[in-house]
């Protein structure tokens, strides 16, 4: 029982961290987009700001997807 509640506590910490992170992830996307638009950046320049962000998504999905499939 104490073991379970310790696990639950760990789970809650991870979930709360992930939620906070995801909240800032979404907020940062809008902040960068709208702020640099406000500064007068062209749409293509704004798109370029995000290419490394998206590129690493491709890389980690390629590597991490393989990992996920192996563990399943």
């Amino acid at each position: 029982m104490t073991n379970l509640s310790a696990e639950l506590r760990q789970y809650l910490i991870i979930t709360a961290s992930y939620w906070t992170f995801t909240l800032t992830d979404g907020a940062l996307r809008m902040l960068v987009l709208l702020y640099f638009h406000q500064l007068g950046y062209e749409p293509l320049q704004i798109a370029l700001l995000f290419i490394f962000y998206e590129f690493f998504g491709v890389v980690t999905n390629l590597v991490g997807g393989w990992l996920g499939a192996r563990q399943a």
């Binding site: 696990e7 506590r9 760990q10 789970y11 910490i13 991870i14 979930t15 709360a16 961290s17 992930y18 939620w19 906070t20 992170f21 995801t22 909240l23 800032t24 992830d25 979404g26 907020a27 940062l28 996307r29 809008m30 902040l31 960068v32 987009l33 709208l34 702020y35 638009h37 406000q38 500064l39 062209e42 749409p43 293509l44 320049q45 704004i46 798109a47 370029l48 700001l49 995000f50 290419i51 490394f52 962000y53 998206e54 590129f55 690493f56 998504g57 491709v58 890389v59 980690t60 999905n61 390629l62 590597v63 991490g64 997807g65 393989w66 990992l67 996920g68 499939a69 192996r70 563990q71």
Partner: protein, 331 residues
Amino acid sequence: MNIGLALQVVALGMLMLPSSALTVAWVMAAQGLSGIAKDLNKMSAKSAIKFLVTDNAQGTLFRWVALLTGSKNALKGAGFFLGGTLLVLVGFRTAMVVMAAALAIVWLINLIALQSDLGKSASKPKFRQVFSKSSAINRLSLCRLFLFASRDVWFVIALPVYLAATLGWEFSKVGGFMAIWIIGYGAVQAIAPYLTGLRAGRVPDGRDAMLWALPLAAAPALIAYTLNSQFEAELILVGGLLLFGFLFAINSSLHSYLIVSYADRDGASLDVGFYYMANAMGRLIGTLLSGWLYQVWGLQACLWISALFIVVTAALSISLPRSGSTLPTTQ
């Protein structure tokens, strides 16, 4: 998890510089760090939960994982709204400081309270193959790439800039609409099995993928067409894009179901890179095209290309296997 949180704090710190120091290359680098942080966090959160509930019932695991991933869209959407609102209320730099401080606190809590072996993502593996031996899986992955590109080609840059610049929406309203779209998309995805008949015992196949893609293709085409006429343009754009979100969620959910069913049918393993990176690659292509097409030709061009991409998805779907009305058998 700790590394991901720390990276995001660094990325936010990089953006605290005065606007004159924020060059394109600098912001690209900060966003790159942020992208790595996001993926590290996602992977470690998932693997930690798998690790934590191994001793418990599988049903519990599924419920917890579903809660974690199901809430992702809602929180990301809330983040969109928060971002637009913070920009209006406190400005960009203060927003960076506030978010970095909040994450630093979370990071400290993690350092103190989280078992050190938890929330760590495993070391990098060598992946076996990029393409599957099953051509159905490869074709479906390509469908998925075009599907996600068809969303991001208007969603990522063109729409928010159009709403702010052309329609004169406040930033918090722009963030609010993006929030509603992504939250609604997540919600429809959750109920999609009921809408496609899967829950009623009807098993979807390649034909369903094609048939559901057709109304999805019509949505951006109709919006693009009516934007010409100036007749209730704002209402048609907003309503049309919400309809797009509804149909998109069903298409995306259908693909997720089909990929598993094809893997079963062909006895193929799913450890293929192309399937996993297809939607990320679609997003990357969509993001770049969104900026470029919008800058040169405007929002309508983005919507026409979106429709074209979905037509490509539908055309590719024609060649997907059709299972009839029975469950695909394993082996």
